[in-house]
């Protein structure tokens, strides 16, 4: 057994415990320093992930490969950015800061295990570690009714979806006699399946994962939770938790269920269509920017599902790349929202009027992040969408890409609505919005990400295509 492979995960776990430990001995007014301390832990973990070797451990359960590496970097990146955006927020509005940072780190550990897992049960356990930490984080503003509601809703629906997922897994185990993905694939290739049981199990598994991804029609929890949760957690949820769901889903479907693609591709197409259409259309009507971003992030999952239906190497590359660029743009956008909220205490879109005069830097950053989310070149989101659509066109899914591009036009409308407020309207107040160093760091890193991946995507594409070649299509 090769334990060196899981050094990064073990290290991050210990660092989370260290934060809890230090928390005991830190005076209340100094606790905000735990944030930078967590950042240090993440940076060290990134280094460990990059330099730790590749291979398998615990039999078939754990596999450190380019796939897990890519996802681990995305998860650690979003945890880093989320903590950057948390520091002021937590200092002002949150009690028990030590646990807050520790929980973020713990959920990241769960995600890293998830991406590396090649066996259904260990995958399930990692998923639970991730989501249970996130339940607590969503309800972190204890005195705020909306936050408590968010936590409760997330927990009940999350538990229900986990049960559904577990039921699907058990059926799959019943059919194939194994929970190891490779074994499942071998079983499915060799036999005269699919029977109705397999279809039922696939439906349950897809439903379970779709809850985690917030794909329509399993999205109902998302807007309420996103609105109620502390905004940095919303940012983290909208990227990392979706990424975790995606990592597991791609691993399961491309790693074991490719022999029966005809059974599940139509389901994903239907999910993708509904998710893109509903997410984008409902986002138009939102007046609260967090809710708008919630629906927009639902819609973004729809685009990823388009590529998931394509089930090819290019599809995997495009999904991981898209997740990366989505991370920069979405957390960047949330960073602006948090900065604005810290200053003015509101998330209403109409309050953004004239922000371009009050804080030109914040305004132009938000424009860039939104344009990237729409997919306007030369920003990263364009490259991401380009590859997603390329993967779908390769399989001849013209109508699906047609839906995707038309809903992208709709998305332009609601993103531009915020831009319109910031640039075309006069401000009601004139005080500039203050931005602390940590938020500024998150903003600048996201901006660099959005522009660098957009202008010169080649190194990212070639690294990620190595991750995509983990599966045999």
């Amino acid at each position: 057994m090769n334990l060196t492979l899981i050094i990064p995960e073990i290290f991050l776990f210990l660092w989370a415990l260290l934060i809890l430990f230090v928390d005991f001995f830190t005076a209340e007014e100094k606790k905000h320093r735990l944030g930078p301390l967590s950042l240090v832990g993440i940076v060290i973990t990134v280094v460990l992930v990059v330099f730790s070797g590749q291979g398998q451990a615990f039999g078939e359960m754990f596999s450190a490969d380019y796939y897990s590496l890519s996802f681990a970097i995305i998860f650690l990146g979003s945890a880093f950015l989320a903590i950057c955006t948390s520091i002021d927020f937590a200092r002002e509005r949150i009690k028990h800061q030590g646990e807050y940072y520790a929980l973020i780190l713990l959920s990241t550990v769960g995600m890293m295990f998830l991406a590396a897992s090649r066996e259904l049960l260990s995958m399930y356990v990692s998923l639970e570690l991730t989501t249970i930490s996130l339940f607590v984080l969503s309800a972190y503003l204890k005195t705020d009714l909306k936050s408590s509601e968010a936590g409760l809703k997330y927990m009940i629906l999350g538990a229900a979806s986990s049960a559904i997922l577990l039921y699907g897994i058990s059926l799959l185990y019943g059919i194939t006699g194994t929970t190891v993905l490779k074994g499942i694939q071998a079983e499915l290739v060799g036999s005269a399946f699919p029977g109705p049981l397999l279809v039922i199990s696939l439906v349950f598994i897809i439903a379970g994962f779709s809850f985690k991804l917030a794909a329509v029609p399993f999205h109902m929890w998302a807007p309420d939770v996103y609105e109620g949760a502390p905004t940095p957690i919303t940012a983290y949820l909208s990227v990392a938790s979706k990424g975790a769901g995606l990592a597991a889903m791609v691993r399961v479907f491309f790693g074991s269920l490719l022999p029966v693609t005809s059974e599940w591709i139509p389901l994903f197409m239907a999910l993708a269509t509904m998710t893109m259409v509903l997410g984008n259309i409902v986002a138009i009507r939102q007046s609260n920017i967090k809710r708008m971003l919630a629906y927009s992030s639902i819609a973004q999952v729809g685009y990823i599902l388009v590529a998931l239906s394509a089930a090819s190497e290019l599809a995997t590359t495009s999904m991981i790349l898209y997740l990366l660029v989505y991370m920069f743009a979405n957390i960047g956008a949330f960073a602006v929202v948090i900065a604005f909220y810290n200053h003015s205490g509101t998330d209403e879109i109409c309050e953004y009027a004239g922000l371009s005069r009050r804080s030109p830097f914040l305004a132009i950053s938000l424009v860039i992040f939104f344009l990237s989310l729409v997919g306007i070149p030369p920003l990263a989101g364009f490259v991401g969408k380009y590859l997603l659509f390329l993967a779908a066109i390769q399989k001849g899914y013209y109508w699906l890409v047609g839906v995707a591009v038309l809903t992208s036009v709709i998305s332009l409308f609601y993103y531009m609505n915020v831009v319109r407020q910031m640039y075309f309207r006069k401000p009601t107040k004139n005080d500039p919005v203050k931005v602390s160093w940590s938020l500024r760091l998150a903003l600048v890193l996201s901006l660099i990400g959005v522009i660098a991946v957009g202008v010169y995507p080649d190194p990212f594409v070639s690294l990620i295509s190595k991750a995509a070649s983990v599966f045999v299509y």
Partner: protein, 537 residues
Amino acid sequence: MNMGESFPILTVVTFLPALGIVLLLLVDKNRQLLVRNVALFTSLVTFLVSLFLYFKFDPGTGDMQFVELYSWIPSLGMGYHMGIDGISLFLVLLTTFLTPIAIWSSYNAVTEKVKGFMISILALETGMIGVFVSLDLFLFYVFWEAMLIPMYFIIGVWGGPRRIYAAVKFILFTMTGSLLMLVAILALYFVNQSYTGVATFNLLDYQGIQIPFNYQIWMFLAFALAFAIKVPMWPLHTWLPDAHVEAPTAGSVLLAAVLLKMGAYGFLRFCFPLFPEATIHFIPLFSILAIIGIIYGAFVALVQKDVKSLVAYSSVSHLGFVMLGLFALNMQSLEGSILQMLSHGISTGALFLLVGMLYERRHTRLISDFGGISKVMPVFAAFFMIVTLSSIGLPGTNGFVGEFLILLGTFRENWLYAAFGATGIILAAVYMLWMYQRVMFGKVDKPENQKLKDLSLREKLILVPIVIVIFLIGIYPSAFTSRMEASVAKLMETVNEKYRVEEVMPQVQPRRDFQIDESQLEVSTHSFGGGEIHRGQ
């Protein structure tokens, strides 16, 4: 083709304005004059550098010149590929010529957020030039889309009272078209890959393949929709009057002069050589839409009360001429169309400038608010007269040559189209001269009009180069057509040759799945042998 060994002049021309943006970012935004001068200086330098293209251009060949080719995302076949031929040369020059004029014209008109305005204009210039010089479809699309954003801000921030509506309408219309074009670009990539086995977005490589007819139809329509919205062709023109009327003068000038040309340019550069069969299939449809545009635009222009929207609708009519010429598909008509694109850019650009100057003085553009202006502003009236006549197409001015060639070429293909098209010229004379008469002649019956100042030195200097170009094209058009000829001839050859080959080819069945495997490649090279033969010719 030299692979970028020589001086990368196209890159320099494209990104000089972007460099100007960097300079502008360093300037304090409160020093408005300095901000304006830096922007003007940058665009002037860009123009001077681009003149080099004109003089170094080799009129003897229809191939791409000044080619630069580097790989960008090699794993997927995207390249940084630039080059110009006789078709794009003048559009690049038109862009670099009008941008400094637009910037200079806004010295008095734009007084708020000057820095943002200048940054937007320069970003727009980079995007516009990039569209005309890109020979890689990915790169082209990047510029094509990126350009929308500065225009959106120009209309939305510095526009008139209904600017928000106009800006949103503008961006939604153009985005819808371009995204459908994106789907076609991606499909084209796989069609090419299934024939040649090479993953590339290089436009010149695509010209070598024979695309099955039923694919051509759909791809043509997807590209054509994007371009027809941009032109704009009737009935997709409704965004144009709003955008034009609400945009600030400099925005209207660049919108009319350059952005609209991108649509027509797209047809020439992409639709015709890539989908020749579909092009010929759609000649009647597009010709009739063009004729409707000519006549409809003219009639609507006739009843406008606002000078600026009159000019906007006249654009719909004039661009109808361009489209009519393009779809007549012969040497005369194509050269006429390209020339008409330039002429329209110059004349309509100048009209918007003149209307802007009037608006700065009176803060109204209603025709009924004027009358007898020629008595108060004689110099202005003289310039206005020249530009009006050039817009109508008086012999000796630029408008005449293009329209004449278009009608000549169209007549050879279909006399009925030409006859209907010709009514547009008559109507143009009616609405332009009638407007001129109501604004300029008669009594000065409004007291506000009696004290209007005539043109300042700056305004005269803005208009003089335009008038020079108006007469230059009108009197000596071969300075322009001689450089187009070889490229247009080559385009005609590509269209005709592929069309002829296709006629003797068996009808090809499409495949749903473009994934490459060896056996499919075998089949495709056998049955579509034509693709190989024509590559590189």
